[in-house]
């Protein structure tokens, strides 16, 4: 048995929790399972309908059959696998230990405010990744080095532009153009220019939303899956525009 305030309080928390998960790139069925599990720990039923930008949440008390519904906005957050993992674990702990709501909320705040990985480390890792990608596609040592440095340039440009709060489509176009332009220096050094150009922009591929989209579709959340894929494809198009600008400049030397 819950009072009106308790039910409202639970609804508010679950709304925040679900928004955080959906915003940081967790696929839909996991969000649904986690929120239901948190609801179960508080002995209430949770039903959730999700879209790309908003979600509708209904909680009901099985004893009194009182129901509350809320529409929540989904914040646009950077993808975070760590939050995905930790918040899922929190939902299990809440359900297994029957944690009271205030404890769950406290732990939630602690997990959400944890510092992210150092951006410099991410930049270095992404550059190394792109360089090994170049090697996998058969690029020679010179091409690998060029891809490493052009990813450094492209990635740091992306980070700086994102900090300025520029529209993310424009960020993608500019970073793809910059990275591929740097990689086109492979033409001068007589390295594998085609492989260098192709791999220099791959750090921008939105792999997580693409794969999440397919997972959502095969799990039956077709609408949201399609929205995720369309979103990812728009970014791929931006990447292609940036790359095309470079290709138009250097295409005659590539043929």
């Amino acid at each position: 048995m819950k009072t009106e305030e308790q039910l409202q309080e639970t609804l508010d928390f679950i709304g925040e929790y679900a928004g955080q998960l959906l915003g940081s790139g967790v696929h839909t069925s996991r969000v649904v399972r986690n929120t239901k599990r948190i609801g179960r720990s508080q002995d209430i039923n949770v039903h959730i309908t999700t879209f790309q930008r908003t979600a509708i949440l209904t909680v009901s008390d099985p004893e009194t059959h009182r129901t509350l519904t809320e529409v929540i906005d989904i914040p646009q957050l950077p993808i975070s696998f760590e939050l995905n993992s930790n918040l899922s674990a929190l939902s299990w702990r809440a359900a297994d230990r029957h944690m009271p709501l205030c404890d769950i909320r406290e732990e939630y705040r602690r997990l959400v405010s944890r510092p992210k990985i150092n951006p410099l480390f991410v930049m270095l890792m992404a550059s190394l990744a792109n360089a090994s990608f170049c090697r996998l596609f058969g690029g020679d040592l010179c091409a690998v080095c060029i891809v490493f440095s052009s990813t450094l340039v492209g990635f740091s440009l992306k980070q700086e532009l994102q900090k300025m709060g520029l529209n993310h489509f424009i960020v993608f176009i500019l970073s793809a153009f910059m990275a591929s332009l740097c990689a086109s220096s492979a033409l001068v050094f007589n390295a594998d220019a085609e492989v260098a150009l192709a791999t220099s922009v791959l750090f921008l591929i939105p792999g997580v939303p693409l794969i999440n989209g397919v997972i959502d579709i095969v799990e039956g959340h077709i609408l949201l899956g399609l929205s995720r894929i369309i979103n990812a494809l728009l970014l791929v198009v931006c990447l292609a525009i940036g790359l095309s600008a470079t290709l138009l400049l250097v295409k005659n030397s590539l043929l």
Binding site: A129, L136, I215, S244
Partner: protein
């Protein structure tokens, strides 16, 4: 001997690529070695299937993704982290970048040679070929890695749950295993 060396080199670079692309999505630190192992195994398997067994890129990617999916089931339980956290970064090195690049390149060349019937149809064919391969491989990767979740639902859905011996109720009593 040469084969072994090539496979190890392939797996090594795939592991770096997987961990590096994973780092962009802020994974938990404990997941990094797991991502590396999965990426290396998956990519090396695909390399072997394509180069030594002559299997096409889509089927080989599907098999590799399947392996990554099953391995993430085992590793995820050990690391207590969701399967998707491990397998999504591990799949990224298998994204067919060269085909994607050639799709864009042929589209540009098609637009540039639109007046020339022979050249434009040549580039159109290349555009279609590369686009179809790119899309099919990405779809095969995502579906292949997801199949183990469907097969072992119960296990896949409780990766982040504590082991029964650690589960304590808020009041200190050990909880019965309720679903």
């Amino acid at each position: 001997m040469n084969i072994v060396y090539e496979l190890i080199a392939d797996g090594f670079f795939a592991a770096i690529a997987g961990m590096g692309f994973g780092a962009i999505s802020d994974p938990p630190l404990k997941a990094f070695p797991g991502i590396g192992i999965l990426a290396a195994l998956g990519h090396a398997l695909r390399y072997a299937l394509m180069d030594y067994a002559g299997i096409d890129i889509a089927s080989a990617s599907f098999c590799a993704a399947l392996l990554i999916g099953f391995m993430s089931l085992l590793l995820g339980e050990r690391l207590r982290c969701p399967m998707t956290v491990l397998y999504i970064p591990a799949l990224l090195p298998m994204i067919p970048g060269m085909y994607a690049y050639r799709t864009v390149f042929s589209m540009i060349m098609f637009m540039q040679n639109i007046g020339d019937a022979a050249l434009s149809s040549e580039y159109m064919a290349a555009l279609l070929l590369n686009a179809v391969v790119t899309v099919t491989v990405i779809f095969a990767l995502a579906v292949g890695a997801t199949i183990p979740i469907f097969l072992f639902k119960e296990k896949a859905y409780s990766m982040t749950r504590e082991k029964p011996r650690n589960r304590k109720r808020h009041d200190g009593n050990v909880l019965a295993d309720n679903k």
